[in-house]
């Protein structure tokens, strides 16, 4: 799981061009949206594509996405349980 969290942080930094961040700057329970990393709705679309492309997870319900993208901890747990690749 720790390896998955690190991989997720690195992929998010690359996909969202978070140039001023390293994986160490993102705590596992930091909020990804709002006051945490400050991601926005375009970033949410990028994350949905990232989950589909890298882990074979298709998110279709926007309401559930809000919960899944709460933090690295929540996201990694969801990927671990639902990944198809």
């Amino acid at each position: 799981m720790e390896q998955l969290k690190l991989e997720l942080k690195e992929n998010i930094i690359e996909a969202l061009n978070l140039e001023e961040f390293t994986a160490n700057d993102i705590a596992d329970d930091d909020a990804l949206f709002g006051d945490g990393l400050g991601l926005d709705s375009i970033d949410a679309l990028e994350l949905i594509v990232l989950l589909d492309k890298d882990y074979g997870i298709k998110l279709t319900d926007p309401e559930s996405s809000k919960e899944i993208f709460k933090s690295i901890n929540v996201l990694a747990a969801y990927i671990d349980q639902n990944r198809t690749k």
Binding site: N17, E19, I42, E46, D52, K53
Partner: protein
């Protein structure tokens, strides 16, 4: 050249500020570059300003160089003109946001048309620069982008000129931007080489201006501007004569030429035009910047600087032996024998 209703009072058009980002250090203090770039390089990347002074890191992370250059040049032009919210934002670009276009198309190819991400698509559209400037300023006024090849800047400027002349606006932010991208040049350099289009490096840059109906502290007056799609070399004299006549100007009134020679086989147009002005100084500006679709905006910046500050001209002593400040500058540009533009800039 357009015609206004003869009964309408045509307002004069002034350039209040001019800012350029180019392969030379032109942004920091609006100075004329002292050194020519090496002619042997194949691409001339623009010197990028310190963007954090103009764009928040959260916004900048999605922006390609074209957007950042455009926002920085536009912000500084507005600041120099002491204008916070213009009556219009008009941009020109030949190729738009090439870097994000490349990313978007490569994504489609690499992922077999699946997993297409939104950011590069959003950022790849040609009107991204003017749109982002509008968002940044919270400016809901007229916002338009002209994509007319090597007449993109001139087309934007004609729009701005018309709006000022007709009294539809008092201050307009107008400019042009083009970026090199990463791969595009490699795909087009062979074509340019075969067509002998230019011997100069491919360039990039941005130049923005605030134009106004207010003369106070203006750098220059834009007295006339004309774009011509097709003009045979033997028609050049007639077209120039018509342009100057309509501008109520004679050949002998002009005391500096700013020309777009690029070493290609169509430089014969510049040679022909130069011959009409045997005793007048001329500057070839493209060796300073490289060649790109909106490089004529750099020429306009150069003209404004030369007209507004005599000391700037003195910095070019080694190229211009006569230090007399120019009063009326003719800018002429064309691309591969097409897309000709004449522009007259006058001292204020």
């Amino acid at each position: 050249m357009y015609n206004l209703n003869p009964e309408q009072i045509v307002k004069a058009v002034y350039i209040k500020s001019a800012v350029a980002i180019s392969a030379q250090d032109t942004f920091s203090d609006n100075r004329i570059p002292a050194e020519l770039m090496p002619a042997t390089i194949s691409v001339a990347n623009a010197i990028q300003p310190e963007y954090k002074d103009y764009i928040s890191p959260a916004s900048a992370r999605r922006m390609a160089p074209a957007v950042k250059m455009g926002i920085a040049a536009a912000s500084r032009a507005l600041s120099l003109a002491k204008i916070s919210n213009p009556d219009g934002i008009i941009a020109g670009t030949g190729m738009g946001c090439l870097m994000d276009t490349e990313k978007f198309l490569n994504n489609i190819l690499e992922n077999k048309e699946e997993f297409i991400t939104p950011t590069s698509f959003i950022q790849s559209t040609h009107n991204t620069v003017a749109g982002q400037i509008g968002i940044m300023l919270d400016c809901k006024a007229y916002n338009s982008t002209y994509v007319h090849g090597s007449l993109s800047f001139e087309s934007a400027l004609v729009d701005a000129q018309l709006q000022i002349e007709e009294g539809a606006a008092k201050n307009i932010l107008v400019g042009a931007v083009d970026e090199l991208g990463i791969e595009f040049y490699q795909h087009t350099s062979l074509r340019n080489s075969q067509r002998k289009s230019t011997t100069l490096p491919a360039g990039e840059g941005a130049a923005f201006f605030v134009i106004s109906d207010d003369k106070e502290q203006a750098m220059a007056q834009l007295t006339a501007l004309e774009t011509i799609r097709n003009c045979g070399i033997d028609q050049l004299q007639t077209r120039l004569h018509t342009f100057l006549t309509q501008s109520k100007c004679k050949l002998t009134d002009i005391d500096l030429l700013v020309l777009g020679n690029n070493g290609g086989k169509w430089d014969t147009y510049y040679d022909r035009l130069r011959a009409f002005f045997p005793n007048i100084r001329s500057i070839n500006y493209k060796p300073l910047t490289g060649e790109h679709h909106s490089v004529s905006a750099f020429a306009c910046w150069l003209g404004c600087i030369l007209l507004s500050d005599r000391s700037r001209l003195n910095e070019w002593d080694n190229r211009i032996t006569d230090n007399t400040k120019p009063r009326l500058i003719l800018l002429y540009n064309q691309s591969e024998g097409m897309n000709h533009s004449f522009m007259l800039l006058k001292e204020c």
